[in-house]
């Protein structure tokens, strides 16, 4: 019974989340008159969760250990600082999303359904938490579904807008299919190894008699499932449509939190399943069953190129940011293709930065949309003169997304390229750099509309409320500070490398 007890201690954050979820559902029933209290409950819940997550720092262990013939003990979930890091990312972004939701008109319009809204968000969070630390394919599948189901609904939350419901339908079908594919892949792996636990699989696939073709087939199917979560080409097609259609808060949440969870999952999946040895320089040796390197290189290049070049054409900022987030998924994959802790660090750093700048960008778009009701780029003409604060911070976020100093975005890119050069993958680095030059086009284009075009009478004057102003600055300031003094984030990242096993 100690096993279960330990396990419960190890999954306290998840427990907290789920209890908050229940509380929200209940309170939705209790305060059906006036739901103003619910957001605060949610916020409190997040903060508590965060506390528990932070509390987990440094703790390592397996939840729900299963006894098996293999010597190494293992479990359904691995609790380690790597997981903690991503859980923190998720928590932080969720907290911000709560603030966003509070500020967003389109959400506040749906007064009576706020309860569901927050509950569903917590559903997503729960799914993500499990995704992040799952080491058993079934748990992986279930957690992904857990998250997806909530997000399908959220994507279509604002019933009023047909875009919204279309988005949710597409998201649903697309997601269901890819998870189905994934499940099929899992079933095949199960058939070949007799287990769904990554550690077991890791030890078993080193055996020579494994049928490599079947295995690759299964792996590709599984990757399709994960690739759709991190919206990497060629599994990204849902992203632009859903991002454009969904409520902006949800778009922001998907673009950061679910991407983070997806990456955590991908990294853990690959590292636990396929890495046989890590040398003193921190570079990984893969098991010779599946040739990840070319696939991932190809996919990451394809992803970033496709994202950047498609973004050139977008006149809708939400959609533009959707493509840009695809491109960033490509950059992030670069950190994985080098198969070294160096790359891992780069990814972690990049996520911290990405959280700040991407949410920031979405926040501005939302605040403007609150006023103008649309995200078309022409609504931004001359914004720099009518609403300086928003414009300046938007400029900062966009520059950071481009990756120019002295913004945090530069640090993120810098570490990715450092990893690449360290792995002597100059060619890939060059392509990535040229990509970032291309990305300048569409980011700078927004600046052009904000500053180089003179304001017209149709230009909105957005004067955000005090809270929102604080919110904007709270996102913009660190982007600049980390750009100039980035030691803290690197320190944090380097302490969160521990992935259980090996």
């Amino acid at each position: 019974m100690t096993n279960l007890y330990q396990s419960i201690l190890l999954i306290l954050p998840e427990i907290v989340v789920s209890s908050v979820l229940i509380i929200l559902v209940l309170s939705d029933l209790i305060f059906h008159k006036d739901k103003r209290v619910i957001p605060f409950i949610a916020g409190l819940g997040i903060i508590v969760t965060g506390a528990f997550v932070i509390n987990q720092f440094g703790i390592t262990g397996f939840a729900f250990q299963t006894s098996s013939q293999t010597v190494r003990n293992y479990g359904m979930m691995a609790i380690d600082s790597f997981g903690v890091f991503f859980k923190l990312i998720v928590t932080a972004s969720s907290l911000l999303i709560l603030f966003f939701s509070h500020a967003s008109n389109e959400i506040q319009k749906t007064k009576d359904r706020l309860g569901e809204y927050y509950a569903l968000i917590f559903g997503m969070i729960l799914g993500m938490f499990f995704m992040i630390s799952a080491t058993d394919m079934i748990l992986i599948y279930l957690s992904m579904e857990m998250m997806s189901l909530s997000s399908y609904v959220l994507a279509g939350f604002t019933k009023l807008r047909d875009r919204s419901s279309e988005a949710s339908l597409k998201y649903l079908i697309y997601g269901a299919v890819s998870s189905g594919l994934m499940l099929f892949g899992i079933s095949i792996v199960y058939g070949m190894t007799g287990s769904t636990n990554l550690y077991v699989i890791n030890s078993l696939i080193q055996a020579p008699q494994i049928n490599l073709f079947a295995l690759s087939f299964a792996i590709v199917l599984i990757f399709a499932g994960i690739g759709y979560k991190i919206s990497s080409a060629p599994f990204h097609f849902w992203t632009p449509d859903v991002y454009e259609g969904a409520p902006i808060t949800i778009t922001a949440f998907l673009s950061v939190a679910s991407k983070a969870a997806g990456f955590a999952l991908l990294i853990r999946f690959i590292k636990t399943t396929f890495v046989s040895y890590i040398d003193s320089n921190g570079s990984w040796t893969l098991i010779n069953v599946f040739d990840w390197k070319p696939i991932l290189i190809g996919i990451s290049i394809l992803t970033m190129t496709l994202g950047n070049f498609s973004a050139l054409w977008q006149d809708n900022l939400k959609r533009m940011l959707a493509y840009s987030s695809i491109a960033h998924a490509g950059y992030l994959l670069l950190g994985l293709v080098v198969f070294s802790n160096q790359g891992l660090i780069a990814i972690l750093i990049y996520f911290i930065v990405y959280l700040l700048m991407n949410l920031g960008a979405f926040l501005i778009v939302m605040l403007v949309a609150n006023k103008t009701g649309s995200e078309e780029i022409d609504d931004y003409n001359g914004l720099g003169y009518t609403s300086p604060l928003l414009a300046v911070s938007f400029a900062i976020f966009l520059i950071s997304l481009t990756g120019l100093p002295p913004t945090a975005g530069f640090i993120g890119k810098l570490y990715l390229f450092i990893a690449l050069v360290d792995a002597k993958m100059i060619f890939v680095a060059v392509i990535a750099l040229l990509n970032s030059v291309v990305s300048l086009y569409y980011y700078i284009r927004v600046l052009k509309h904000m500053y180089l075009v003179k304001p017209t009478e149709s230009t909105a004057t957005v004067v955000p409320s005090l809270n929102n102003r604080i919110l904007v600055l709270a996102l913009a300031a660190p982007v600049l500070i980390f750009g100039i003094y980035f030691a803290p984030i690197v320190d944090l990242a380097k302490n969160c490398l521990v992935i259980l096993g090996l």
């Binding site: 079908i173 849902w238 040739d291 696939i295």
Partner: protein, 699 residues
């Protein structure tokens, strides 16, 4: 009378005019009378230079006085190439004589200008320009190194530019100024490269050091060919400044400037700087270089003389005669008659300045009429001008008892000797031809201007003798054209102090095998000359003596012929000029000469147009090719720009636009995938799964 005193004095002389210039620039507006200060300053400078010349010639006749200091010193570290640039003054006899000449003429012109330029709206500025010119000219005279020479060389170029373009409202004046500067630049580039060669090999700009090095036998880049090249290249500077063919075209146009300026800069001093430069580098000229110089000089003098025959603008005639005379000096340096070249420089400075100022006086009284066909009979109206003008004309024609006779005769003797010794007889022949032509066109000028009946009575009636401040300088200069100032014996300069004691031909430092045979030191005169200054080899001196009398007689004959024909043509009308012009054969010549042999037109057609065409061609290239990464990209981008609105912001040309086009293109094709139909997406997913499976085969 210490050496340092002389140095300091010459420094003062050098900077006095500059001080004047600065004062005028700063306060010219407030005190319009400041020009008087200018005149005073230049007179002081003149007085000082007389003093300097006297003491130098009297006390240090055979000693060169040098004062120098280090201006720039870089690279002074282990392993690195050292560069020490000295600025310095070298005072030898040639220098002090030049000092005297320059200051004298400059002073006279200042005085003359007081009246001539009166009423001009930029009166004071005019004097300040004269000041900066005098400063730069003195710099050229005094310098002891090539770099400083080049610096002041450019500065005189500047002042000449400013003075030619003084009346810049006239387009012709502005054009002439620009032309003068640019044409000079061409020569200067050559000079600069020459200097570079010398500096690179000897790490110094100082004349004496360079010459010592050459004498010691180490040649630039170890070959005498480079030495020749250096000589010719530096000479190119002279070709520009002294208006030698093919760069002579700027000088006639330069007559757009005020006449006193023409007298000072474009007759007496600046244009002579070229000759002065060649005298400075004379000792390092190899036989080949000297031959080139001689030929250039001879050809220039001939072509200029032929053009001068038919010009009708009084100043143009004088201008071409100047070119021709400068060609004479250059030629004489080329044939080794060093002393006579310098001698002619001095004498020519005086009488040519006199001629120009005289013409100025005429123009002044004729209300800026310059065409001699509208003059005539002015002898009665303005006697002083006439007589001074006449004296100078006689001098330039080389009639005995004048300074011109002495110097020209010497040069001709030199060419004769050269012909005899080297067999290049063409040069003496040209020399004598030019002598004849000179006599002819100068007297044509005098006759048409002063003799006969007035052809434009209206102007004639208003004509009057110029005031004293203008004719006094004329008198002074005319007087200086008399032989007595140079030698007691009107027929032979050799006896004179000028030749015998002041100026001597320096000994060549070039490797013996690269000199003309007659310049090789022969056994008896290795230690022949006293105080280190060796006269030419006996051979050359003897040949000169041999050539002296033939040359004198011949030159008298040709000069006489020239003068006679001039009178036949224009005074006594024995020969009908017009009929001569009618004649088919002579007419061709006449036209050619009148149109200056179309040299300017040729330049316009080739060099100038060529450059401009290249320029515009390249700028097209720049916009279309270099900027538009591909030539077609502009068109392609325009097509794309139709597709998307914002795109044409960038879709004009260039790297950016090409990239934009390219990326846009890719973007489009990606965009097509995003059909919006979820089923298409799923098909794509399934396909990509298959593709992944096929392409990335397992091990």
């Amino acid at each position: 009378m210490s050496e340092s005193l002389l140095i300091n004095l010459s420094i003062i002389i050098l900077f006095l005019p500059l001080a004047g210039f600065i004062k005028v620039v700063l306060f010219g507006k407030k005190f319009p009378k400041l020009y008087l200060l200018e005149v005073a300053i230049i007179s002081i400078a003149f007085a000082l230079s007389v003093f300097v010349m006297y003491s130098k010639l009297a006390y240090y006749n055979t000693k060169d006085i040098i004062g120098a200091f280090t201006w720039i010193s870089t690279g002074n570290a282990p392993f690195s190439d050292v560069l020490n640039i000295e600025l310095g003054i070298k005072i030898d006899n040639v220098t002090v004589i030049m000092l005297f000449v320059v200051n004298l003429i400059s002073m006279l012109v200042h005085i003359y200008s007081i009246e001539y330029m009166r009423g001009d709206k930029r009166y004071t500025r005019y004097f300040s320009y004269l000041g900066i010119f005098t400063f730069s000219m003195l710099g050229i005279v005094l310098t002891h190194n090539l770099l400083m020479m080049y610096i002041f060389w450019e500065l005189v170029g500047l002042s000449s530019y400013l003075l030619i373009g003084f009346w810049f409202e006239k387009k012709s004046a502005a054009d002439a100024a620009k032309k003068a500067f640019i044409v000079n630049r061409i020569g200067d580039i050559g000079m600069f490269i020459g200097i570079l060669i010398l500096f690179t090999s000897y790490k110094t700009f100082t004349f004496d050091t360079i010459f010592a090095q050459i004498a010691a036998g180490n040649l630039p880049f170890g070959s005498s060919a480079w030495l020749t090249a250096a000589g010719i290249l530096v000479f190119m500077g002279a070709v520009g400044k002294s208006a030698q063919f093919p760069l002579h075209v700027w000088l006639p146009d330069a007559m757009e400037g005020p006449t006193p300026v023409s007298a000072l800069i474009h007759a007496a001093t600046m244009v002579a700087a070229g000759v002065y430069l060649v005298t400075r580098i004379f000792v390092m000229l190899t036989a080949d270089a000297m031959l080139v110089i001689a030929v250039v000089g001879a050809f220039t003098s001939l072509i200029a003389a032929t053009i001068a025959l038919t010009q009708n603008d009084i100043k143009k005639v004088l201008a071409y005669s100047t070119v021709s005379q400068l060609g004479y000096m250059i030629m004489s340096l080329g044939v080794g008659a060093y002393v006579f070249a310098f001698f002619h420089l001095v004498t020519h400075a005086f009488f040519k300045a006199c001629l120009f100022l005289g013409s100025g006086s005429v123009i002044h009284s004729m209300h800026h009429e310059q065409d001699i066909r509208n003059m005539g009979g002015l002898k009665k109206k303005m006697p002083v001008t006439y007589w001074t003008f006449l004296i100078s004309t006689i001098a330039i024609s080389g009639v005995p008892l004048t300074s011109g006779f002495l110097s020209k005769d010497g040069i001709l003797a030199g060419t004769l000797a050269f012909g005899k010794l080297t067999g290049h007889w063409l040069i003496p022949i040209i020399g004598f031809t030019v002598a004849a032509l000179t006599a002819f066109y100068m007297f044509r000028l005098v006759i048409l201007t002063f003799h006969g009946e007035p052809r434009d009575h209206h102007k004639f009636d208003h004509a009057h003798e110029s005031p004293l401040v203008m004719i006094a300088p004329l008198a002074v200069l005319a007087t200086l054209s008399i032989f007595i100032f140079y030698t007691p014996n009107p027929l032979s300069p050799d006896a004179g102090w000028f030749m015998s004691s002041w100026v001597k031909t320096p000994e060549q430092v070039t490797p013996v095998d690269t000199r003309f045979d007659f310049l090789k030191p022969s056994a008896e005169n290795i230690h022949g000359g006293h105080h280190g200054e060796i006269v030419h080899s006996v051979l050359y001196t003897e040949t000169m003596h041999w050539a002296h009398y033939p040359a004198m007689i011949l030159s008298l004959v040709v000069a006489g012929l020239g003068i006679l024909t001039a009178f036949m043509f224009y005074q006594w009308k024995k020969i009908n000029v017009d009929k001569l012009i009618e004649n088919k054969f002579t007419n061709a010549l006449y036209r050619g000469s009148l149109n200056k042999w179309k040299i300017d037109e040729a330049y316009d057609a080739t060099a100038i147009n060529g450059t401009l065409q290249t320029g515009s061609g390249l700028s097209w290239f720049d916009q279309k090719i270099v900027d538009g990464a591909v030539n077609g990209s502009a068109r392609l981008t325009r097509i794309v720009s139709k597709i998307s609105g914002w795109f044409d912001t960038y879709a004009v040309d260039g790297f950016v636009n090409f990239t934009a086009f390219f990326s846009g293109f890719i973007g489009l094709s990606f965009r097509k995938l995003q059909t919006g139909k979820v089923q298409t997406y799923i098909v794509l997913v399934v396909f990509s799964v298959i593709i992944l499976l096929l392409f990335f085969k397992p091990f």
